[in-house]
């Protein structure tokens, strides 16, 4: 009965099938809760022309920033790109197309994609460049724009603990975009710090039910801190 055992034994196996030209949805916020090793495996494979949806593009030399070094990303949907010099240069040189997307809209695009909702209305971005070319509609006297959802060929996700069925829990603010990303991949790959026995996670406390997860791997993580800030006094 191997049917629900989502574990794979290598990162190579975890990212099997990823190819140039594909769309990848990545969890993480800044360097927090990012699928470090899955990103590294994408870099190792050298696939190109990726479309990536993620809140940020990491920093130079870490996180999704690694994929910039060999110009593997040609299109990027993000809400914030301020921490990455290489990204900014590739953007200004038009080597990478950046579609800046409000953070809440980006999260909702993933959530809706996974939930079978092809489009939704939001007031976010109405009357701004983000709303240009998008349908505007009034509900109860307010203007909203239509935003379409996204489904990726792959979703790459960082969890804290999971059982082999792919039920995942996230830790603290490392949750961020990961649960939505997990729902929005045709193939969803999750890497976690620990794989536990089925039943160890309380059923009503699971963040990502295993039905969304195709492949699961336990890894070790650097968990780099982007802005180390400590209490004064």
């Amino acid at each position: 009965m191997a049917g629900f055992d989502k574990r794979v034994t290598s990162y190579e196996e975890a990212m099997e099938g990823i190819d140039s030209g594909m769309t990848v949805i990545a969890g993480g916020f800044g360097l927090c809760g990012i699928p470090e090793n899955l990103i590294a495996e994408i870099k190792r494979r050298g696939v190109k022309d990726l479309t990536v949806y993620s809140n940020n593009c990491g920093v130079d030399g870490f996180g999704l920033g690694l994929l910039l070094e060999d110009k593997q990303i040609s299109r990027f949907y993000a809400s914030y790109v301020g921490e990455n010099a290489l990204f900014e240069r590739q953007m200004l040189d038009e080597e990478i197309e950046v579609i800046l997307t409000p953070q809440g809209t980006l999260a909702e695009k993933m959530r809706a994609g996974g939930a079978g909702i092809p489009a939704f209305y939001t007031a976010t971005g109405y009357g701004t460049p983000i709303g240009e070319g998008k349908e505007v509609r009034e509900f109860n006297g307010r203007h909203y724009i239509l935003e379409e959802s996204v489904v990726g060929d792959f979703a790459i996700v960082k969890g804290w603990k999971a059982d082999r069925y792919g039920n995942v829990v996230y830790r603290d603010t490392a949750q961020n975009f990961n649960p939505m990303a997990a729902t929005a991949g045709r193939i969803t790959v999750v890497e976690v710090e620990e794989i536990v026995e089925p039943g160890e996670l309380k059923p009503d406390q699971i963040h990502t039910p295993g039905i969304y997860v195709d492949r699961l791997i336990q890894g070790t993580f650097e968990k780099r801190i982007e802005k180390r800030t400590v209490h004064q006094g």
Partner: protein, 220 residues
């Protein structure tokens, strides 16, 4: 005298009410948390998924899984809740946050705000700001009244790409506290020692000045 960054934060902190859920943007807005008046309690929302943000951690408490929307390491206060980005923006977009305080490059007399992009110069992205201004009923902008070159940032109409349209109702600058309504800035208070004339000169948008414009006071 123009207000210091700390004084700006202090002044805005007086707008906090007991029981407010508040989102503080990056920069000066973050400092507001240091001046919460005695006897009132506010709960800070950080849009990466934390309600009830606490102080910065000690060296021992440092945890890469605990950050705020500015990517700084933080702690959670007892009774905090932590959730996904979709849930966080459900709160924001759904109007559940009581007060949003954020910075801006420009604000205009119709409540438009520009804060995320200077074409050809600066493209960092809007992060959560567009959702915040679209979702909140109650927004205070903190900004300098004019650029270093003396160009007003309180305009008839924003020049830079907008973050949100018709959404800002209060502005605190280093010179004044103003409300925006009926297509004009309404001068409410001025910084200590700053004249109404000076504020008039540095406000490009329509400015309504009442007979009395009280001076802000700050304890030493």
């Amino acid at each position: 005298m123009a207000l210091t960054r700390e004084q700006m934060a202090m002044r805005v902190a007086r707008e906090l009410e007991d029981g407010f859920y508040v989102n503080l943007g990056i920069g000066i807005p973050t400092l507001v948390a240091n001046y919460i008046p005695d006897g009132i309690d506010v709960m800070l929302q950080s849009e990466n998924g934390l309600l009830g943000m606490g102080r910065f951690p000690t060296e021992e408490e440092l945890d890469p899984d605990m950050i705020n929307a500015g990517k700084q390491t933080v702690t959670a206060r007892p009774g905090a809740a932590i959730f996904s980005s979709a849930e966080s923006f459900a709160m924001i977009r759904g109007g559940h946050v009581d007060l949003t305080v954020l910075g801006a490059f420009e604000v205009d007399q119709n409540g438009n705000i520009a804060s995320w992009m200077v074409p050809g110069k600066l493209i960092k992205g809007m992060g959560g700001a567009m959702d915040l201004v679209a979702g909140a009923e109650n927004i205070i902008c903190i900004m300098t009244h004019a650029s270093k070159h003396g160009e007003s940032k309180l305009l008839e109409r924003c020049n830079l790409p907008l973050t949100g349209a018709g959404c800002i109702n209060r502005v605190l600058t280093d010179l004044a506290y103003l409300e925006i309504k009926d297509g004009a800035f309404h001068l409410k208070e001025r910084a200590p020692g700053v004249s109404v004339e000076e504020i008039k000169t540095l406000t490009a948008g329509k400015l309504v000045v009442p007979d009395q414009v009280p001076e802000m006071t700050f304890e030493a």
